[in-house]
């Protein structure tokens, strides 16, 4: 009887030790674990949008003032107001605009700001305009190429899911809208008649 008890106890102890010695994890979880040091683009984009972009909207320039400056002194205006994480001709501006809705299209809403027409994007919310226009973000924040691409992509998701639906609701034909937006311009091939504003934030006035 004692022998049976001893063997049983021994087997139990062996079982407990064996059970605690081996762990099974899903491969997906392991991969996620290995990526601990990579940036969580969604979390970063959310906090960047709330804590940085929205708190720095006063850095925006009125859109007609910007286009006038670009006409008279493009080089200096780019130097003073344009931003970009990278180098090259593509630069971004943070603008503010208050205008009357003149047309609602499939991909854009046309507005008139003191007689000058602009398009506000409602469908093609892509690219780096929202990320770069404020000039707050710097390249040294990122170690991986995909990190800064993913942040752009997540910021655009925020605009697509939060800002655009509100804009579409408010922007009825003939109504007045005010917004903070981001625009992309090519410094070398400047086209002021093709400006498309990506809405960043809808303001009350």
């Amino acid at each position: 009887m004692n022998k049976i008890l001893k063997n049983g106890l021994g087997l139990l102890i062996l079982g407990v030790v064996a059970y605690n010695s081996v762990y099974f994890k899903k491969l997906d979880e392991v991969k996620k674990g290995n990526g601990k040091n990579t940036l969580d683009a969604k979390v970063y984009a959310n906090s960047f949008y709330q804590d940085k972009i929205l708190k720095n909207v006063d850095k925006s320039i009125e859109i007609n003032e910007l286009t006038n400056k670009l006409k008279t002194n493009p080089e200096e205006t780019f130097k003073q107001y344009a931003h970009s994480l990278g180098i090259g001709n593509i630069r971004y501006f943070l603008v503010k605009a208050t205008g009357k809705v003149t047309k609602i299209n499939e991909n854009t809403i046309d507005i008139e700001v003191d007689g000058k027409p602009y398009s506000v994007a409602t469908e093609f919310i892509f690219g780096n305009a929202v990320r770069d226009a404020s000039g707050i973000i710097t390249m040294t924040t990122f170690e991986n190429t995909m990190d800064f691409n993913n942040v752009s992509s997540e910021l655009n998701e925020i605009i697509r899911n939060k800002v655009v639906p509100d804009l579409k609701k408010k922007a009825t034909l003939g109504s007045q809208i005010s917004l903070i937006g981001a625009i992309e311009l090519n410094q070398k091939h400047l086209k002021l008649n093709e400006i498309e504003v990506i809405p960043v934030f809808l303001s009350d006035k």
């Binding site: 990278g86 001709n89 892509f126 690219g127 390249m139 190429t145 995909m146 691409n149 752009s152 091939h189």
Partner: protein, 303 residues
């Protein structure tokens, strides 16, 4: 006598040390000079380094990682102070960059990256992802958000291949009526682009667009489309801004490409090396260089 000796030592021994006034040396190590694209990179980097007052020499790795290792060994042994580097292999070249770093030689990668976050002082690279976001946007617009298409990928082991593909799909995949019916590699090669496109067309004769990860494949795909009589049915999109593709955009054969700026990348690497010699240390690990969408809408700007 002892006093004379002391005097001689005092006079000659206390002369100030002659400082080394020879210019710093910059090695330009390039994956291959058998391709005009990389020749432009090499010459632009070398010329800018010389313009900044440094001695510069170009080394051709002939797409051979072993030869590249020899060049690094020689550059380190010969007292080069910085390397402007276009790697042969994103993984295989890491060891060379690390070796240089250990020897106190700063390395600045141009156009192609190495898969290491901290080996190179900085990596100056085309913003492939963002370029393909703009191509993707133009693709969706010209396709009116619907249709079947195929994608020709570059070398599957190359980071540029996937950055381009991811950028494109980050846009196009948001439009469910655009359906990718085939995705195959043609190794960035014109002849392979032709062959792969021929076989794809047999299986999917009803496609209306092809997105290619570079212009060489786009030209190959376009040739296949001409042979099959589908050049007017299928829109072709490339990447690079090669001269033959720019003229094909002008003659409405190719829809669009993205123009890269090899000279700007190479010159920036030389400027970074100059700043490094002058004491700067906080370089961005990756410095993206904007690429520009060239389409039938704006081709006049790029003639």
């Amino acid at each position: 006598m002892k006093n004379y000796l002391f005097l001689i030592l005092l006079v000659f021994g206390c002369q100030p040390k002659t400082t080394d006034t020879s210019p710093k040396k910059v090695a330009v190590i390039i994956s291959t000079l058998n391709n005009p694209w990389f020749v432009v990179l090499a010459e632009a980097a070398s010329a800018k380094a010389k313009e900044l007052g440094y001695e510069a020499k170009i080394f051709d790795s002939q797409n051979n990682t072993a030869l590249e290792t020899d060049h690094f060994d020689n550059a380190i042994a010969s007292g080069y102070d910085a390397v402007l580097f276009n790697p042969t292999d994103a993984d295989g070249s890491v060891v060379n960059v690390k070796k240089a770093k250990e020897a106190g030689v700063a390395v600045f990668c141009i156009d192609r990256e190495v898969n290491s976050a901290d080996a190179a002082t900085s990596q100056i690279l085309s913003d492939n992802y963002s370029g393909c976001v703009s191509i993707g946007k133009y693709f969706v617009e010209t396709m009116n958000k619907k249709g079947k298409y195929v994608e020709l990928l570059g070398l599957v082991g190359d980071n540029n291949t996937w950055n381009r593909s991811k950028g494109f799909h980050s846009v196009v995949d948001k439009f469910p009526d655009l359906k990718m019916v085939a995705q195959q590699s043609a190794d960035f090669d014109r002849n392979k682009g032709l062959e792969v496109m021929e076989s794809i067309l047999q299986a999917h004769p009803d496609i209306t667009a092809v997105f290619c990860g570079n212009d060489a494949m786009a030209m190959g795909a376009f040739q296949a489309l001409i042979s099959s009589g589908k050049a007017n049915q299928v829109k072709v999109f490339g990447f690079d801004g090669a001269d033959d593709v720019l003229s094909s955009i002008k003659s409405k054969k190719i829809s669009a490409t993205c123009l890269q700026f090899p000279k700007l990348m190479a010159q920036t690497a030389a400027i970074f090396a100059d700043e490094y010699f002058k004491g700067k240390r906080d370089f961005p690990k990756k410095m993206p260089v904007a690429v520009e969408l060239v389409s039938q809408k704006n081709i006049a700007d790029y003639e």
